[in-house]
Symmetry: C2
Subunit: 192 residues, 2 copies
C-alpha cells in the first residue's frame, strides 16, 4: 500500500539493531485518517468475503481492528487478552504465545461464547514478525470451530519467518507493507 | 444515553459482589454499531469544542477512542501505555495510578512529543470508578501544557468517588451512563 509505505519512509525511525519505530502514527499515536484508508484496503483485499467477526490482540491491534470492522458491515471485534482478566469468565479458549523479544511465554485468551462454528473470522494485527501471536490467534479460531477467512496485517517484517510460517499452513495473509530488509538506515519494501 | 442503558440492562451480567460485566459489547467483544452511536453522542456533548487530540489508556479505551475520533475531524488518538514499552522513547510524561482492585500502583506513560501546548485534548475511557486512571491522564495533560477540554466516559459508577473527584477539580466529565447503584440484581441509572 503506497500511502503506508510513504508514511513509513517519512516517519519511521530506525533504532540501533535495525528496529523500526512507527509510534507517531501506528502504535502510540494513531493516525485515524490513515487507519481509515487501511481499513478500506483490507476490505478491497478481502472483497467478496462475508466476515462475521474480527479478532485481534490487545493492545495495539485494537485501533486498526475497530476501524476496519466498519468496512465489514460493522461486524463485532473481539480482542484477545494477554492477562487473566476479571472481565473474562465462562469457558476460555487459550493459546500459548512465545515472545522472543521478552524471552517469555504468555497465554492469549478469548471467551468461547464469542466465537462459534457459524462465524467466519478475519484476524487483524499491526505487526507480523515471528508470527507467534498470529499463530496463537489462528489456533484459537480453530479451537472455536469457526472458519478462518485470513489475516490482515499492517506491517510484515519479511526478513523474519512469521509470514512464511503462517502462509505455509494454508492461511491467507495480506500485509499492507512487507519490509524485506532494513540496512544502513534504509528500508526496502517487497513489491506486491 | 438511552441506547446504552438499554444494552446494559439487556446484556450486562451482575456477578457476586455486584460487579457488572459488559464484555459482550464493550470490553472483550466490541459492538461497532453501538460504538459509532456512542462516538456521535460524545460529539454532541462536546459540540463546539475544537479537539486536536484524543487521549485514552490501553487497552479497553482504545476502541471507543478511535471510533470517537472520527467524529472529531479524524483527530489523532494517543493511547497511554501501562508498561515500559520498547515503542516508547524520548522524553516521557508519567503519572502514577493506583489500582484498588489489584492492590498495586503502576505508571502510565505518554511520549511528550505527541502532546503540546497547542493541543486541546479530550480524554476518553470506557469506565470511571475510583477515577485513578482518569486522574493520571489529567495529570499527564497538565504536564504537557496542553489544554484539557474534558473527559468522555462510557459507564460511570456513580456509587464510587471518581466522578466527584475529577469534577471537583473543575474538569468537565460527560458519562454516557451513570450507575447509581447495583443492588439485588437491579441496576439503577442516574437521570441525566
Amino acid at each position: 500500500m503506497e500511502l503506508l509505505e510513504q508514511r513509513i519512509l517519512q516517519e519511521g525511525r530506525i533504532k540501533p539493531g535495525n528496529i523500526l519505530k512507527v509510534d507517531s502514527f501506528l502504535n502510540h499515536q494513531m493516525d485515524i485518517k490513515l487507519f481509515k484508508e487501511m481499513g478500506k484496503e483490507f476490505r478491497r483485499l478481502f472483497a467478496g468475503e462475508t466476515i462475521t467477526k474480527i479478532l485481534t490482540l490487545e493492545a495495539s491491534g485494537i485501533g486498526i481492528a475497530v476501524i476496519t470492522a466498519q468496512y465489514f458491515n460493522d461486524c463485532p471485534v473481539i480482542f484477545a487478552k494477554k492477562t487473566k482478566s476479571k472481565n473474562l469468565d465462562g469457558e476460555l479458549l487459550l493459546a500459548k504465545v512465545q515472545s522472543f523479544t521478552r524471552g517469555t511465554t504468555f497465554d492469549i485468551q478469548v471467551a468461547r461464547r464469542y466465537l462459534t462454528p457459524q462465524d467466519r473470522v478475519l484476524l487483524i494485527d499491526d505487526f507480523l514478525a515471528t508470527g507467534q501471536a498470529l499463530l496463537g490467534m489462528v489456533d484459537i479460531v480453530k479451537q472455536s470451530g469457526a472458519q478462518l477467512a485470513g489475516c490482515g496485517i499492517i506491517i510484515e517484517k519479511g526478513f523474519q519467518q512469521g509470514g512464511e510460517l503462517v502462509r505455509s499452513m494454508g492461511v491467507r495473509v495480506e500485509s499492507l507493507a512487507i519490509i524485506d530488509s532494513i540496512a544502513d538506515n534504509k528500508i526496502n519494501f517487497r513489491q506486491q
